[in-house]
């Protein structure tokens, strides 16, 4: 009977080897994936068990962790939670982290990021509980506050950039939310807040500045069309183009009218500069067909359309349609049809004009600091690409200045400062009040700030809303806050 016992020993050996292999798989080879599973309570608890990094503005925390006497050990506390809700996002035990930096920079804040490897190592050797890194932001509290107040109760979003660096100076989205109850350690409190926010039709947790459903840009897109025209070399600010009261769209029975219902200039002819100043639909519609959809699309892409960016929150790519027929080209050229964009993207377009034609990568991280306050990372301004030539940029600047001096955008003018701007009043649904847009930069000769504002469905002005009257004052308030 010894032979079968020996064979049985081999079977037993195989069984134990299987167990060793399975354990090794779960604990080492496959462990990473299991740990990162979204509902892994141990990983969630781990991130609570160590001190999470702070989110700072000028050294003042807008999100920090304080030690508490319960199982989770650390409580996330937000200062000015609603003002910065879309910047910080939330950090919830039940619902994870989301909606802002808490999610986008979770690796750094929690201390799990590879950049923090050496800090973790020294912490482990020294027997210290590893701590997360802190983030110093580029946000200007005054600009943020001004944008928040000016937007008031209206739905919409505001983005302000430093054109030369891409630094995000303000990012406000309305309606906003209070992340504090989501970070509560009391589950019913968390749940109640979560249900309130997610079931709200106005979607307060969506950051309209960089995501959501995106908006048709309306006439603010004429900056892009004008840029394409100037870049083609066939047009200049003084070029005379057709600007009739209505533009006959070929292949269709419909026409493209001007908002005023009148022609833009004498004999239905208008200069490009004046077409911009008065936001002349027929002139830009004609221009769109002349240039062709591909040329406009190319220009839009040069400004950043179609590109996903992280600031570090993900910016939804703006879209410009392809394969257009002439009437669609005309409509797209004035920011209608299937053109969809974020306030961030429109701020980038304006900032590129302000920055001599170069698009800077938008970013809100000034510094990443380890727990011992040593600087780990200091993102440098990064040029994405040149969107337009220097000459085009300066010609566009001149044209956009006319908008605030003599055109549709006077409501956004700032006393004593030359502001270059473009308004937009975007139809988005039959019967609904239009979205009011305003994008601008100032001072025109030495740009410090570029702004894009959208007020959803006309805001408080309703169907009477226009880009200049509804969104212009908000832009003005933000610029004053930055420039003062």
């Amino acid at each position: 009977m010894n032979q079968p016992i020996r064979r049985l020993s081999m079977v037993v050996a195989v069984m134990f080897v299987l167990l060793l292999v399975a354990s090794t798989w779960i604990q080492v080879l496959g462990a990473q994936g299991i740990r990162e599973a979204s509902d892994n309570r141990r990983t969630q608890l781990d991130s609570y068990a160590r001190e999470r990094g702070q989110i700072l503005l000028g050294g003042q925390p807008i999100a920090r962790s304080t030690e508490v006497e319960d199982d989770l050990e650390w409580q996330r506390v937000y200062s000015d939670p609603e003002l910065y809700s879309h910047v910080t996002g939330y950090f919830s035990f039940t619902y994870g982290s989301g909606a802002g930096l808490e999610s986008a920079s979770d690796g750094l804040l929690s201390g799990r990021d590879d950049q923090l490897f050496y800090d973790r190592l020294t912490d482990t050797i020294a027997g210290r509980e590893p701590r997360g890194a802190s983030l110093e932001l580029t946000i200007d509290p005054d600009a943020q506050q001004a944008a928040e107040q000016a937007l008031g109760e209206q739905r919409g979003a505001v983005v302000a950039l430093d054109p030369s660096t891409g630094d995000i100076l303000a990012m406000v989205s309305h309606p906003n939310f209070d992340p504090s109850p989501l970070a509560s350690h009391d589950v019913p409190t968390e749940r109640a807040a979560w249900e309130r926010y997610t079931e709200d039709e106005t979607q307060p947790m969506v950051n309209r500045a960089i995501g959501g459903n995106l908006y048709p840009p309306g006439s603010t897109f004429k900056i892009v069309t004008a840029a394409a025209a100037l870049e083609s070399g066939d047009y200049s600010a003084g070029s005379s183009i057709p600007g009739p009261a209505t533009l006959d769209l070929p292949q269709t029975t419909s026409d493209l009218p001007n908002a005023s219902g009148a022609a833009c200039g004498a004999n239905d002819q208008v200069t490009l500069a004046v077409a911009m100043q008065d936001s002349c639909n027929t002139a830009f519609g004609w221009l769109g067909m002349e240039l062709g959809g591909d040329a406009v699309a190319e220009q839009a892409e040069a400004f950043g359309f179609g590109e996903e960016l992280s600031v570090p929150m993900t910016v939804a790519p703006s879209t410009f349609p392809t394969g257009l027929n002439p009437p669609q080209e005309a409509q797209s050229a004035i920011g209608q049809y299937d053109v969809r964009t974020t306030p961030m993207q429109m701020a980038m377009v304006t900032a590129a004009v302000a920055n001599d034609g170069v698009v800077m990568r938008p970013n809100m991280i000034e510094q990443v600091m380890a727990a011992d306050t040593s600087v780990i990372d200091e993102p440098e301004p990064d040029a994405l690409r040149r969107a337009i030539s220097s000459d085009t940029a300066s010609e566009l600047t001149d044209m956009m200045q006319l908008v605030t001096t003599d055109g549709t955008g006077t409501a956004g003018a700032v006393d004593g400062v030359s502001v270059a701007a473009k308004t937009g009043t975007a139809q988005h649904a039959e019967g609904a009040a239009p979205h009011a847009w305003y994008t601008a930069f100032a001072p025109a000769d030495n740009p410090q700030v570029a702004v894009a504002v959208v007020v959803e469905s006309g805001g408080t002005a309703g169907s009477e809303a226009s880009g200049g009257s509804s969104a212009g004052p908000i832009s003005k308030a933000v610029m004053e806050a930055v420039l003062q």
Binding site: M1, N2, V12, F16, A22, Q27, R35, R42
Partner: protein, 457 residues
């Protein structure tokens, strides 16, 4: 008067003492570790608690010196280490659950250990020769059947499996004891019938298959295990009993055909159960795809256990520094995951290897034994440990579908401890026999009067 002085065979008792002391040292370190991690102080009753464990181990060691001096010296230290680690991990979970030491499960586990050792020692002292057990072949078989069937009539259900009975204030899993009795029954029965089973049969496809009437016992075992499964919803015991029987049958007959037959019958039975019982389908789903949406709803325990193991990584969170309580039943069915979370792959490998060595020592004793009954019994009991470890750890690590068995010596549970200590006593008894040198031919016996009749009962 021997012309050549023989070298005295190594009994290994001193080795055993040293290794046992080492095992106790490891356990005490682990105990201090847990206490420091949780309360930041050395446990006040350290000497007392350590003394209990050391006393139990020492008593066992002394009885071995006295009654089984050639017994395998590796078995006791391994069992002491496993049992001790188990108590420490259970103590650690007591703290996490907010149970004080005196009300906790660790104390009960210690108590059961003491009782288990007492019974094991009684077995070692009373049973001088394992061959005596052969006389009780059918008694053991009948008793095993009764015990396995008992919960159907007077048992109650825990977590879906009807495998528990209540004795006063104690609850008991009769199938635990049945596994030893079954091994005795199989060994006795197979030693008797092995010639018939081994030599007759028809050849088909190059394999000799047994005759129909010799298939009887296998068929009975199969039907019995299916019945147990059906009535008690106890997949683990079924697997163990059936696996044990097939393995012992193979050892007795040395015929692969038994294994082919056994496995195909098992597969057939599994297929029937899979199609008829929804909870078995759930088990299979949890095995194949626990991280699917449905899996996460149905297999919370398994998913939590795997997440615990994964969070342990290579070196573990450290004793007292993980969160094993997030897994349901962390001290019994999922104690392996609890250990893996806090001791890491290093810990789980150590545990698996300890079991592997334990089983290997048992199988080695089986080879060393000179009687067929002993060989079968020793191999069977060793294989029971291997099977049980495989079914439990394999279930937790998704090698096979999860079933409800306990990890020998580690998991919380009185019936399991009592049975496994007794099982080890039997293995030690047989290893003593296996390693004991052949007795010198006794001159006195050779000169015995020829008219004396030696009776064999």
């Amino acid at each position: 008067m021997r012309a050549v002085a023989t070298i005295a065979p190594r009994r290994g008792r001193n080795v055993e003492l040293l290794l046992t002391a080492l095992a106790i040292g490891v356990v005490i370190l682990a105990y201090v570790n847990v206490s420091v991690a949780e309360t930041e102080e050395i446990p006040p009753d350290l000497l007392g608690h350590a003394g209990i464990l050391a006393g139990i181990a020492l008593a066992f060691h002394l009885v071995l010196r006295w009654r089984a001096s050639y017994a395998d010296p590796i078995i006791l230290p391994i069992v002491v280490l496993l049992n001790g680690i188990g108590v420490v991990v259970i103590y650690r979970l007591d703290i996490a659950a907010g149970r004080s030491f005196t009300e906790g499960q660790a104390v009960r586990q210690l108590l059961w250990t003491a009782i288990g050792v007492a019974i094991a020692l009684a077995v070692l002292i009373a049973l001088r020769d394992h061959r005596v057990l052969r006389r009780y072949t059918y008694t053991a078989g009948a008793a095993a059947l009764v015990l396995i069937a008992l919960p159907i009539f007077i048992g109650y259900e825990v977590n879906g499996a009807r495998i528990w009975i209540r004795l006063g204030s104690f609850t008991f899993q009769p199938a635990e004891i049945a596994k030893i009795l079954l091994a005795i029954f199989f060994a006795g029965y197979l030693v008797q019938t092995r010639d018939v089973l081994a030599l007759t049969g028809r050849r088909f496809l190059g394999i000799t298959f047994p005759r129909g009437r010799d298939l009887g016992p296998l068929a009975i075992a199969w039907v019995a295990s299916m019945l147990v499964l059906a009535f008690e919803n106890d997949f683990g015991t079924t697997l163990m009993v059936f696996g044990l029987f097939v393995a012992m049958l193979y050892i007795a007959t040395e015929r692969i055909s038994w294994i082919v037959l056994g496995l195909s019958m098992a597969a057939f039975g599994a297929a029937i159960v899979y199609t008829t019982a929804s909870h078995v389908r759930t088990r299979v789903l949890c095995w194949t795809d626990p991280f699917s949406t449905q899996g996460r709803e149905e297999c919370g325990q398994l998913v939590q256990g795997i997440m615990g193991l994964a969070s342990g990584g290579v070196s573990g969170a450290g004793l007292g520094r993980g969160r094993p309580w997030l897994t349901p039943l962390p001290e019994s069915d999922f104690i392996f995951a609890s250990i893996g979370e806090e001791l890491g792959l290093v810990g789980t490998m150590a545990i698996i290897l300890l079991y592997a060595i334990l089983v290997e020592r048992g199988l080695r004793s089986a080879i060393g034994l000179r009687d067929g009954f002993g060989k079968l019994l020793a191999a069977g009991l060793s294989f029971v440990i291997a099977l049980q470890v495989f079914v439990v750890i394999g279930g937790v690590t998704r090698v096979i579908p999860l079933t409800g068995l306990t990890l020998p010596f580690l998991a919380y549970g009185g019936s399991s401890l009592l049975t496994n200590w007794t099982l080890v006593a039997l293995l030690l008894r047989m290893s003593d026999h296996a390693r004991r040198p052949e007795p010198e031919t006794d001159p006195a016996q050779m000169e015995a009067p020829t008219e004396m009749v030696r009776t064999v009962r």
